[in-house]
């Protein structure tokens, strides 16, 4: 145990930090992009408040387009774009862009289905009060959808952790990559188990947090 710790402690710690970096930064941007996209999808779809066939179809297609490409391929497909945006295509910095590009449409879809469950009548009530659409979106639609949004984001963040496991492909490290490269390639079985355990604990915590939040918000 002691030996294991002194040999792998710092490696695992570094990987944990990398995972945290990748997940938090990528999630931040994914929500920043995905949430508005989800809102736009909901508003512009048929019978939505701002029904607009063209915007809806365009966005819908774009989102599907990106979501069609498995992350492992996307990672390389958008390399030039990544380089352009952040100046590098390797390391934690280089993997953030593909992670965001991969997760944002997923978040958008999850948001869309969460927002679609909000009662039309309530939205109408606020429209009737002459409240502007952005305010309705934030204070009514998103507010009412919070329980579903919490569950959706938990789902997205877990998917994101899965994607970071592939981050090793471009040298970004992280727990998933540690499990893969040490566990598989070097048969350091104990490292593999430890990292998987860490991942499980991480996800379990996130999910509990998400469930807890959803339950607290679901005040019906």
């Amino acid at each position: 145990m002691q030996a294991f710790y002194s040999r792998w402690g710092s490696v695992i710690f570094k990987a944990t930090v990398e995972t945290f970096q990748m997940v938090t930064i990528a999630m931040f941007f994914a929500v920043l992009i995905g949430l508005p996209l989800g809102v736009i999808l909901t508003l512009t779809r048929k019978n939505g408040s701002l029904e607009n066939r063209w915007i809806y179809q365009g966005l819908n297609t774009l989102i599907n387009l990106i979501r069609s490409i498995p992350f492992i391929i996307l990672l390389f497909y958008i390399l030039p774009f990544t380089k352009l945006l952040v100046g590098t295509s390797i390391g934690v910095k280089g993997v953030i862009v593909p992670l965001v590009v991969h997760t944002a449409p997923f978040v958008a879809r999850l948001m869309e289905s969460a927002l679609l469950e909000v009662d039309r009548g309530v939205v109408e009530a606020y429209e009737a009060m002459g409240i502007s659409t952005p305010k309705i979106i934030w204070h009514v639609i998103i507010r009412e959808a919070r329980p579903a949004i919490a569950l959706g984001l938990t789902m997205a963040i877990i998917a994101l952790i899965g994607a970071t496991a592939m981050a090793g492909l471009v040298g970004a490290g992280g727990l998933g990559n540690l499990a893969y490269s040490y566990g598989h390639l070097r048969y350091e079985v104990s490292v593999m188990h430890t990292t998987v355990l860490l991942l499980i604990v991480l996800v379990q915590c996130l999910q509990s947090l998400g469930n807890h939040l959803a339950a607290r918000l679901r005040k019906e």
């Binding site: 390391g91 492909l169 040298g171 990559n177 070097r186």
Partner: protein, 245 residues
């Protein structure tokens, strides 16, 4: 016109696994002289070259000579190899057969799914007389380039590191020695066919063209080629990986 590399600080790309482990040893040695080596670990075989070509890396050490040559010509990259490193001898292993000649009609044969080892495996099968490859495909060979397959063997590309675990489901498979040893195989005894000694599959250290004579590169090669490293390879990989300098 190229600015020489900083001799005190090098960024080196490797693939996860033996290359990484060896480089960790090198890093340890270099550190004694105050030379800082930053290891970038990759788990696939394209990015280390791209990153090197684009200046994200100073040096990489993960590929064998034929792969580098092929990669350079396909993508027009200005890369050059500066020194040899190690060889991972590859052999054909089988759970039940004791000789390649026992391989039967329609057998399932495993080979690594990564390009540096995949083509090599196919060439190994060719030299074992199991198949013939198309004229001139060389080191870019894939399972689609098999010209003749008299036994109608079914080839299946698998994750290199996992092939030993799946060997009992296959009739035979090409496995790198390092992965075989991890699973308790002894390459010299358990192979039913092994690469000839004069292997062209020597791994190399690559840099961008123009840096081949940099002081920094030379110092790096020196560290790599120390006996201490050779000794480490010998002990750690127990013959499954051989120093090739």
């Amino acid at each position: 016109a190229v600015t020489p590399l900083d001799p005190q600080h090098l960024t080196v790309g490797v693939t996860a696994g033996p290359h990484e482990e060896i480089l960790e040893k090198v890093k340890e040695i270099a550190a004694r002289d105050g030379v800082e080596i930053d290891i970038q670990v990759f788990t696939e075989y394209v990015m280390p070259n791209i990153a090197l070509a684009e200046g994200e890396l100073d040096i990489n050490s993960f590929q064998h000579q034929p792969y580098l040559d092929n990669f350079k010509s396909e993508r027009n990259l200005e890369l050059v190899d500066v020194a040899s490193t190690v060889i991972f001898p590859m052999g054909i292993y089988a759970a039940e057969y004791s000789d390649v000649s026992h391989i039967q009609q329609g057998d399932l044969i495993g080979l690594p799914n990564d390009p540096t080892n995949g083509a090599r495996a196919l060439i190994l099968f060719e030299s074992a007389g199991l198949i013939t490859l198309k004229e001139g495909v060389g080191v870019a060979a894939t399972v689609n380039d098999i010209a003749a397959n008299p036994l109608d063997l079914r080839f299946i590309e698998l994750e290199a590191s996992q092939i030993p675990r799946q060997l009992d489901e296959l009739a035979a498979a090409a496995i790198n020695a390092n992965f075989a040893i991890e699973h308790g195989y002894v390459p010299t005894e358990d192979t039913i066919f092994i690469e000839p000694g004069d292997s062209p599959w020597v791994n190399v250290i690559a840099v961008r063209t123009g840096h081949e004579n940099d002081e920094a590169v030379k110092r790096f090669i020196e560290y790599y080629h120390l006996d201490e490293v050779r000794q480490f390879i010998g002990e750690h990989f127990q013959g499954s990986i051989v120093a090739a300098w």
